[in-house]
Symmetry: C2
Subunit: 190 residues, 2 copies
């Protein structure tokens, strides 16, 4: 099991600032927990927004909590085509020069100038996990997914190491569907 | 270039029998060519239908021509989740026990009892291509896609050999988006 990592599929979601939350959901609004996620302290909230792109809209997109220092919209490449925005494959936080979009909530709208990314596939690991797996922060690895139908090896998987993480690989819905992954274990290969 | 193959993305589409075409588009209806495809004689027609699943519908789905001996609906796993049908990863033609769906055309509806597949990724090759590439009909190979963002290696790629084919690998939109493939060359690895 030394090179195995749980692969989780991230559905489209957004992160918002306190300010954006206030505009979308009204003064004094709070994110309420719908479901805790694997990364410590992170949760899917019950608050949902509509993404309005130049081509089409996508409704019922979950906000993940808690609030952050900047707004960020994480979608699949399929979603990007639906919305009509460019595909920017980026690590979380690296939003400079990415497309913008309009967020619509029950109490108001926010137009983001940038922040729409297709998340680069990545592994969250603690320093202890990283040592055990023989990987380093920012290292690019490959991860093999084995099944009877759509086995594949994901390249360009970036490792991110922090004591606040829990070991998990995150891919988006396109990647999950390309490998019919569900929640399975992948094998790190270099 | 001995192990290179052009990778093409198949958007969702359907194949219909003469009978189904008649019900959907009326007596005497013909498929008219919108765009010829890479496989000799095959074309995207101007005729479009709506797929009505138990959960949602997807409109404007192209019929590929010419007509065939059985109806078949080829969608991505993302589409299957949208429509609310089971994901059946199958080779074209292998539809026994797959989900059904309702097709709606301008003149009528057809309820298919089966025929909805998520196409197994595959390579079309002539006998000459197969010899040159060192592969055989029905062989399962892997194909590596290299780029700067989402490199990956597709496993479970079935080779299909026929003199009527033209060399090309076909993947669906999920697989394409997972590797941001566009029309690129993949490299066969065994």
């Amino acid at each position: 099991m030394e090179n195995k990592v749980l692969v989780e599929t991230s559905a489209r979601h957004i992160h918002v600032t306190e300010e954006t939350l206030k505009v979308l959901f009204g003064e004094g609004a709070q994110l309420t927990v719908k479901k805790m996620l694997s990364q410590p302290g992170q949760f899917a909230s019950e608050q949902k927004v509509e993404l309005v792109g130049p081509k089409k809209s996508i409704a019922n997109v979950s906000i993940l909590g808690p609030c952050r220092k900047s707004d960020q919209v994480e979608i699949s490449a399929t979603d990007a085509r639906t919305l009509g925005v460019e595909i920017a494959v980026r690590e979380s936080g690296d939003i400079k020069g990415t497309p913008g979009i309009k967020l619509v909530g029950p109490c108001g709208e926010v137009v983001l100038e940038e922040g729409v990314i297709v998340a680069k596939r990545h592994i969250h690991a603690t320093p202890e996990d990283a040592e055990r797996l023989g990987v380093k922060d920012k290292e690019i690895v490959s991860v093999a997914i084995k099944n009877d139908y759509r086995s594949l090896i994901f390249g360009d998987v970036v490792v991110r190491v922090s004591p606040s993480f829990q070991l998990a690989m995150h891919i988006d819905t396109d990647e999950s569907n390309a490998g019919l992954v569900g929640n399975v274990y992948g094998e790190i290969v270099k």
